[in-house]
């Protein structure tokens, strides 16, 4: 590759796009829509990812799509992906069995800036399946606990049956050095916990020191601006608020322009962005209200 990042020779293309094979070790159904796959590279080597990064996953005949790591890099012998059945590839991934193979490229993207998060309070705000990429970070913090200060997790699911990683939620809840607040928007008869969306416990129950806190926000597009409003009201600066954003990807590595957000490529400059980096980027519609078209 040249210094400008462009391909020098056509044969480089194959190398760039060539997936390596990973084997399914276990498959666990988490909810009706979600499965958790534990995988291992054929070579059994670790992928050395950072929490927040993603892999391009492929199955011949079903296409390719970005999927975030949901395991911590501290788990070196295998890695985990949590997949929602929403289309071609992801539905085929739901049909995989232990022993089956799939293609992986990566890790790609900019994940959470772990180095600068050390010695700070971490506030994770997750909505719905946004807990999947955050799990990678939370498990990392759990394994390296002395390197971080407070660890607060506010997690909202639509309904109790849609809560992801219930076992992990219980483990984190039981830890004295984690502060956890779980809520559901549509409770059922058995639910005895908090009700409402994630911004409610965030506003009413979470006190933070804005100077010392890094907030990490991952969830459905509707959630972001409401969470941002609460965090700004708590005195946080945009500098310390991180969002992980989703767009449709094709190449996953800054070549095709599919994932463009104004002048940024979500696959390469993100998916994790600092709020300050999104200021003035009108296409970041989940974090800013767009201009009124009449203006």
């Amino acid at each position: 590759m040249s210094e400008t990042g462009h391909l020098d020779h056509p044969e480089d293309i194959t190398a760039f796009y060539q997936p390596v094979m990973a084997r399914v070790i276990t498959k666990q159904r988490l909810t009706e829509m979600m499965v958790l796959l534990r995988l291992q590279l054929d070579s059994a080597e670790p992928l050395d990812h950072n929490p927040g990064e993603f892999l391009q996953i492929s199955l011949p005949g079903y296409g390719e799509a970005p999927i975030s790591f949901c395991s911590s890099p501290t788990q070196t012998k295998s890695f985990e992906l949590c997949v929602a059945a929403v289309g071609n590839l992801s539905e085929a991934m739901h049909d995989l069995r232990p022993g089956d193979f799939l293609g992986v490229r990566g890790p790609y993207g900019h994940g959470f800036p772990i180095e600068e998060m050390r010695d700070r309070d971490i506030l994770c705000v997750a909505g719905g399946i946004g807990l999947a990429p955050l799990r990678s970070l939370i498990k990392y913090v759990a394994d390296r606990r002395p390197e971080f200060e407070r660890m607060v997790l506010v997690y909202g699911a639509r309904m109790p049956d849609e809560q992801l990683f219930k076992d992990d939620l219980d483990v984190w809840d039981a830890r004295e050095d984690f502060e956890t607040l779980y809520t559901v928007d549509e409770p059922d008869d058995q639910w005895t916990g908090r009700t409402g969306v994630v911004t409610e416990p965030l506003r009413e129950e979470v006190q933070i020191n804005p100077e010392r806190t890094t907030a990490v926000v991952v969830g459905p597009p509707v959630m972001y601006r409401f969470v941002a409003a609460e965090l700004l009201e708590k005195g946080m600066s945009e500098e310390n608020i991180l969002f992980s954003l989703e767009r449709r990807f094709k190449c996953g590595m800054g070549k095709c322009g599919h994932c463009q957000l104004n002048d940024l490529y979500v696959c390469q400059d993100g998916p994790v962005f600092r709020y300050t980096d999104l200021i003035g980027r009108s296409e970041a519609i989940e974090v800013w209200a767009p201009e009124d078209e009449r203006e």
């Binding site: 409402g196 509707v222 409401f226 409003a229 209200a289 009124d292 078209e293």
Partner: protein, 175 residues
């Protein structure tokens, strides 16, 4: 500079949510075991909220609709509700309790005026969250709330007509 997190149409959604809460709150107060005159005041306040729901719904119709794809039906409304939360009104249960304890209709009017002032400070804050070009729409919402307070103060004056108390204009506040 404020942060343009929301469009005016979304603040109107929040306003409609607040008015709905107000309607439930005042109806709860009116239904509580209070005196008839206290109930009358709250019925009047509830009627004003109903009128505001219509006004704000009409204002919203003239604005561009901005929607972000929901991950489940009703998600945006849940977040709007969550955002409004108890920032202005308490729950209907609390309304019932506080109405039960009210000594007379003057106290009821004062409570309603206090709540409307709460709504005004909510909208004053919300104004910072929309683009400059849309702020006049939030000013219109605030003007509606000021009118509501004037109506309540007029009611208070009528209630105290027999006494020596003079009607007082609402202290002018910045819009």
């Amino acid at each position: 500079m404020g942060k343009p997190l929301f469009q005016a149409a979304e603040i109107l959604d929040m306003a409609i949510e607040i008015e709905r809460q107000g309607l439930a709150f005042y109806s709860g107060c009116a239904a509580a075991r209070a005196t008839e005159s206290v109930a009358t005041v709250f019925e009047y306040a509830a009627e004003e909220e109903r009128r505001h729901i219509e006004t704000f719904s009409k204002m919203k119709r003239d604005l561009a609709e901005y929607t972000i794809p929901e991950s489940y039906p009703g998600e945006t409304r849940s977040y709007v509700r969550g955002f409004v939360g108890t920032r202005v009104f308490q729950s209907v249960d609390e309304a019932t309790c506080s109405a039960e304890e009210m000594a007379d209709e003057l106290e009821a009017v004062e409570k309603a005026v206090e709540l409307e002032h709460g709504a005004i400070s909510f909208y004053t804050g919300a104004k910072e969250l929309v683009r400059e070009s849309e702020r006049e729409i939030i000013d219109e919402i605030i003007a509606e709330e000021h009118q509501h307070i004037r109506n309540l103060l007029r009611l208070k004056h009528d209630l105290t007509a027999g006494s020596d108390e003079e009607p007082q204009d609402e202290p002018h506040s910045e819009v």
